[in-house]
């Protein structure tokens, strides 16, 4: 299963190349059009509530780039979206829809935090690596449950990862309410991880930390794994056509379980980064739904690693811009929730045929 095994048809190379170019064009065009459409609806909403859309959109779209503080906060918001987005991308490429990133992230964050306040004698870099590994294993094993159920008995992974989300969050809530509760804290949370594992800020006073670099490294590592290794080629073969992959001699079940493990591991690492970078301890409901936000980024990025990465930043810019808009203008921040809802609702809609029809009609009229 290397790229050499695909026969090269000289005659069709040019056609295939132009086809590939066109599909790249579509892949870039459709998400952008969806975002633009949502932003236009947002203008209508702003006008409907009697506010100035230009002032609101200036803050919304450009506020994040006005100064280092706001830009750093954008980067901080992008960090968890990168990992949860990549988590979705990996599973999807292997033919599974993992919507359990939230739960996998919770378990990664929790067990990462436990490692962080348990192995306090380790030096900083080593402790950070240990925390990340523990979190990866925790998130990975959790996702692997859904992988095993799908591989062995065809249990729908959408349903199982959804159910496992609740189990994971109730599990961490139970643990943080009982055995692992910091009794000196008022709310249910663990004690702090050792000081040497606190990720340093890279653009103070903004919230962005070294965690961003870790997330980027994970994204690049994932790209390499998926697109430059034999294992990745197997995963993608299973994702494209399971029966064909089986005929090629790939152990489809094993690959499926491995894919889910890696997918969950990345989500788990995202949880660990949040723990080490933000609150420096685990507390329940640390995530305002990063799992679903990352899912959005991955889908907008057409489940391509670079697209997912880019869309994590775009999405973070929208989230951050909305917060700035709320401070600078009377338009409420939840406008961005409405816009992201519209974007996700329409994202996979087949708008192109109707647009083509519209253009044709316009051409006929002219």
């Amino acid at each position: 299963m290397t790229r050499d095994s695909i026969p090269l048809d000289e005659e069709n190379t040019a056609a295939r190349f132009s086809g590939a170019l066109r599909s790249v064009g579509n892949a870039v065009l459709q998400p952008i059009m969806t975002i633009v459409f949502a932003l236009l609806i947002g203008v209508l909403v702003v006008v409907a509530i009697g506010q100035d859309p230009i002032a609101a959109y200036h803050a919304f779209l450009f506020g994040s780039f006005d100064n280092a503080l706001d830009f750093g906060n954008l980067l901080a918001k992008a960090t968890p979206l990168i990992t949860t987005g990549i988590c979705v991308m990996i599973a999807f490429r292997g033919g599974a829809f993992n919507i359990g990133g939230e739960g996998q992230m919770y378990l990664g964050a929790f067990w990462g935090a436990v490692a962080g306040f348990t192995f306090v004698s380790l030096p900083g870099p080593l402790l950070i690596v240990v925390i990340i590994l523990v979190a990866a294993v925790a998130g990975g094993l959790w996702a692997a449950i859904a992988g095993i159920l799908k591989a062995l008995w065809e249990v729908d992974e959408v349903v199982s990862t959804l159910l496992l989300n609740y189990v994971a969050m109730l599990l961490t809530q139970y643990l943080v309410d009982n055995q692992f509760k910091d009794v000196t804290a008022g709310a249910p949370m663990t004690t702090y991880v050792a000081n040497q594992a606190w990720l340093p800020q890279i653009l103070p006073p903004s919230a962005v930390t070294v965690g961003l670099l870790i997330a980027l490294a994970v994204a690049i590592g994932t790209w390499f794994l998926m697109f430059r290794t034999v294992w990745g080629a197997r995963v993608r073969a299973v994702g494209t056509n399971r029966r064909f992959a089986q005929a090629m001699g790939i152990d489809v079940r094993r690959v499926l379980i491995q894919t889910m493990f890696i997918s969950g591991a990345v989500a788990g690492i995202g949880g660990a980064i949040e723990v080490m970078g933000v609150e420096h301890r685990f507390y329940q409901s640390f995530s305002p739904g990063f799992g679903f936000l990352g899912l959005t980024a991955a889908l907008l990025g057409r489940l391509n690693p670079w697209g997912t990465l880019a869309m994590a930043f775009v999405y973070a810019a929208l989230l951050n811009g909305a917060a700035i808009m709320q401070i600078q203008t009377p338009v409420p921040n939840p406008l961005v929730n409405i816009l992201s809802g519209i974007i996700v609702v329409l994202m996979t809609a087949q708008a192109r045929p109707s647009i083509a029809r519209f253009l044709r009609r316009k051409g006929a009229a002219a």
Binding site: N178, P334, G341, A349
Partner: protein
């Protein structure tokens, strides 16, 4: 287990009904969509929208019928968007469903802040009381009537509607022509088409029915006890309903039992917190139905595979 009598008594039955009702309504809605082979991820968002408009319309008009109408119509509007995008524009059902949930969260929080200047919740100063069953107070201390009293007294009209809907949906699905068509749409859309019917129309009907059920469920969540809307107040009830429908194998009566299991877990989890003698974690109680659903689902799939091989 010295706290057991404090837990298992007539009041638990009342709490069971209270918690089961919104789950059951969500689940019945999901039964219809599942029969037409649509996994209804959007149920959560439809219910959230309904809960908001129940309170908003009720507070503005001081009218129970209008509050209920606002809840049902707003949820059906969401379901119409969902149906249009998925069934007409051909969007992916999971992605669009997640989108509806995000949209519902956005719209409700935006309006919450815009209309009531509050990011977290809205409690109207005066609100009309939803119709409730009132039983004679002297029943409370009698042997059998007392049980009924604690179970049913003060329950809203939606509770009884939901129970009736279980029977109605069973009849609709298994005893009427449209029910046969809906079930055929899920199992064999080509045959439906060959019979001269439009499977897309039938699917749209099931999504609209699920929207109406979500409307009632959302209204119950908002109006059953506190007459209040809280941000993200559905808190997974739509997904629990979906899980219950899957656990109940997409049949109305199976779903009723499954919903009651989830409702019981919620009722028990709520009460063990105030009975320290029991020493049971509410988190673990709440976790059980999800685990049971997952196991039940797995066994169902194993059975299905065996059937296919044999």
């Amino acid at each position: 287990m010295s706290g057991l009598p404090q837990l298992v008594n007539a009041d638990l039955l009342g709490a069971l009904l209270l918690y089961t009702t919104p789950i059951l309504l969500a689940a019945i809605g999901c039964v219809f969509t599942q029969q037409a082979n649509i996994l209804n991820i959007a149920m959560e968002g439809m219910m959230l929208t309904a809960a908001f408009f129940a309170i908003a319309v009720g507070a503005a008009t001081q009218s129970v019928p209008l509050a209920l109408a606002g809840a049902i119509l707003s949820a059906m509007l969401m379901s119409a968007i969902f149906a249009y995008v998925v069934l007409v524009l051909g969007a992916d059902v999971f992605v669009a469903g997640i989108g509806i949930n995000l949209l519902a969260d956005g719209v409700t929080v935006f309006l919450l802040e815009r209309l009531y200047k509050n990011e977290g919740s809205f409690t109207p100063d005066t609100f009309p009381t939803l119709w409730r069953l009132t039983l004679p107070a002297d029943w409370a201390n009698q042997p059998v009537l007392g049980l009924l009293y604690h179970m049913l007294n003060g329950q809203t009209v939606i509770v009884f509607t939901a129970l009736i809907l279980v029977v109605v949906s069973h009849i609709v699905l298994y005893r009427t022509k449209i029910g046969v068509h809906i079930r055929a749409t899920g199992e064999n859309p080509e045959a439906v088409e060959a019979a001269g019917l439009n499977p897309t129309t039938l699917k749209i009907i099931t999504v609209m029915i699920s929207g109406a059920c979500a409307g009632l469920g959302g209204a119950q969540l908002a109006m059953a006890t506190l007459n209040q809307f809280v941000r993200e107040m559905t808190n997974g009830v739509g997904f629990i309903g979906l899980s219950a429908e899957i656990f109940g194998n997409a049949t109305p009566f199976g779903t009723l039992i499954a919903s009651a299991v989830f409702g019981l877990a919620n009722a028990v989890a709520d009460r063990v917190q105030v009975i320290p003698a029991l020493n049971v974690s509410p988190d673990l109680v709440l976790m059980l139905p999800y685990v049971v659903t997952l196991i039940a689902l797995t066994f169902a799939m194993i059975q299905r595979r065996r059937g296919r091989i044999a």
